[in-house]
Each structure stands twice: as structure tokens, then as C-alpha cells.
């Protein structure tokens, strides 16, 4: 298998994993906003979203460095 093909394959897996994560993240965000009673769950959903964005950014930067 060529190195480029391996890189593409690994990139594909990474993108797929991110898609799975963000689908799940959306479900948590949606449930907290829609069914949460009071302001607490909404604030919690904002914390979750912020943390998810930070972790995704870190993972993407590290992945970019490794793959390049």
C-alpha cells in the first residue's frame, strides 16, 4: 500500500470519527436545550459545546501535524 493511500485511509477514519462524535454531541446539546428545565441545562450545554470545540481543535491540529 502506498504511503499516500495509507494517509488518505487514516484521514478518512479520523473524519468519520469526528462525524460520529459531533452527531452525538448534537444530540446532547439538543436534549439539554429542548428538555432542560430552567437556565442550568442551557448553560451546561454551552460548556459542553465549548469543550467539544476545544478538544476537536486540539485533535485536528495534532492530526494535521502527524499526517503532514
Amino acid at each position: 500500500m502506498q504511503p499516500d493511500a495509507i494517509n488518505s485511509f487514516i484521514s478518512l477514519i479520523f473524519v468519520f470519527a469526528m462525524l460520529v462524535y459531533w452527531t452525538g454531541a448534537f444530540l446532547i446539546f439538543y436534549h439539554l436545550i429542548r428538555f432542560g428545565v430552567g437556565a442550568g441545562p442551557k448553560k451546561l450545554s454551552a460548556v459542553f459545546l465549548g469543550g467539544s470545540l476545544v478538544f476537536t481543535l486540539i485533535a485536528m491540529l495534532l492530526f494535521g501535524q502527524i499526517i503532514s
Partner: protein
């Protein structure tokens, strides 16, 4: 700016709240129940550190540090997700006592939600039980609300300070009965001098944990 109103006080509105309905008690399970579920996540967060301490030299020797840090980040993403999944299920499992009814909402995974309600006038009997040393020390337990003419009991699971909640529900039910003008479904208990929760405050009274 309208978006940020989401984060301001919503006066405990919930789906299906009726006009003139006020939330008198808002209950969730005791925080200790949540902590139990979180323990594994918190312990799991230490795992990458331990692995790095044990195999750090090997990782450096084979120039695998960057790959390891990437796996570390992905692992923390998973933990972050699991942490909030449990938090979401905990937060969406609520019991709301209003001046009309008791609403029991339970989220079972993402695609299953149960909501049941019981009219205050149908409350027949309220009892609680604490089971185990931890529950007794932490002061949490289960509360059963038996309704007239229904087989199914309303069960409040692992709520903080069940004794105070039981007394409060009895007060609220008696007040509701008194206002409706019928005979008491609570067995003719004297109702004089009982004050039922504030009606003007924005947050419902909390039961101390």
C-alpha cells in the same frame, strides 16, 4: 441578543406548563447518585498519565509522542462525551410539583422519554424509605406517591431529603384540595395553619441536600 435569553432565568418553564401553573417543588436525584456514575470517568481521566509515566521512555525512543498525545486528546474527547451523557440523563430526570399536579419526566437514552403526571387531588398517600448506610448518611431516599384509582405508584427515586419533600407534597396536596372545595383525599387531616409555598418568587423552594 434573543439567543442569550436562553441562559437567563426561565422561571422553571417546562413543556406542557399550563397557564397560571406555578412550580412549587423541582426535584432531581441526589448528587451522590450522579457521582457514582462519574467515578469511572474521573478515574479514566488519569489513565493516559499513568500510561505515559510507565511507557514514556519507549514512546520517546520510537518518536511516538505526538501520536500518543493525539490518542490522549481523542480519549479525553470520549470521556468528555461520556461525562455529559450522564449529566444529561441526570438533568433530564426530574420531578416537578406544581400547584395543579406532579410531573415525572424521565429520559432513557436519547430516543426514549417518559412523562407521567398526577393530579394533586388524586394523591392518596405519600411515603418514603431510605435504604442503606450511604443513603441514610447522605440523607436521600425514595418517595412513593400513591394515587386514588390508579395501580401505578409515582416513584421519586433517590431524592434528597425525602422527609421534607413528603411533608411539602402533603401540604401542597391539602392546599389544592382545600381550594377545590371537596373533601380531603388525605384522610381528613387537619389543614389549619398550613402555608403553601410562595407564589411570587421566580425560583421554587429547594429542599436542602
Amino acid at each position: 441578543m434573543a439567543l442569550f435569553k436562553l441562559f437567563s432565568d426561565t422561571h422553571y418553564t417546562f413543556e406542557g406548563k399550563k397557564e397560571g401553573e406555578e412550580v412549587l417543588l423541582f426535584l432531581r436525584q441526589h448528587w451522590f447518585v450522579l457521582l457514582n456514575k462519574m467515578t469511572l470517568v474521573l478515574v479514566g481521566a488519569l489513565l493516559p498519565f499513568l500510561v505515559f509515566v510507565m511507557f514514556g521512555e519507549v514512546l520517546v525512543q520510537y518518536e511516538l509522542v505526538m501520536g500518543y498525545v493525539l490518542l490522549w486528546a481523542i480519549f479525553y474527547m470520549m470521556l468528555w462525551y461520556i461525562l455529559f451523557y450522564h449529566l444529561t440523563m441526570y438533568i433530564l430526570d426530574t420531578w416537578i410539583v406544581t400547584n395543579y399536579r406532579i410531573v415525572d419526566s424521565k429520559q432513557i437514552g436519547f430516543f426514549s422519554r417518559e412523562v407521567a403526571e398526577l393530579n394533586l387531588l388524586n394523591i392518596q398517600d405519600v411515603s418514603f424509605h431510605m435504604k442503606g448506610a450511604v443513603a441514610t448518611m447522605m440523607n436521600y431516599g425514595d418517595l412513593d406517591v400513591q394515587s386514588a384509582g390508579a395501580d401505578k405508584k409515582f416513584l421519586f427515586l433517590a431524592i434528597p431529603n425525602p422527609q421534607a419533600v413528603k411533608d411539602r407534597i402533603m401540604e401542597i396536596a391539602m392546599q389544592a384540595k382545600r381550594q377545590s372545595g371537596g373533601h380531603s383525599p388525605l384522610g381528613g387531616i387537619q389543614q389549619g395553619g398550613i402555608s403553601v409555598g410562595p407564589t411570587s418568587q421566580s425560583t421554587p423552594p429547594t429542599i436542602n441536600q
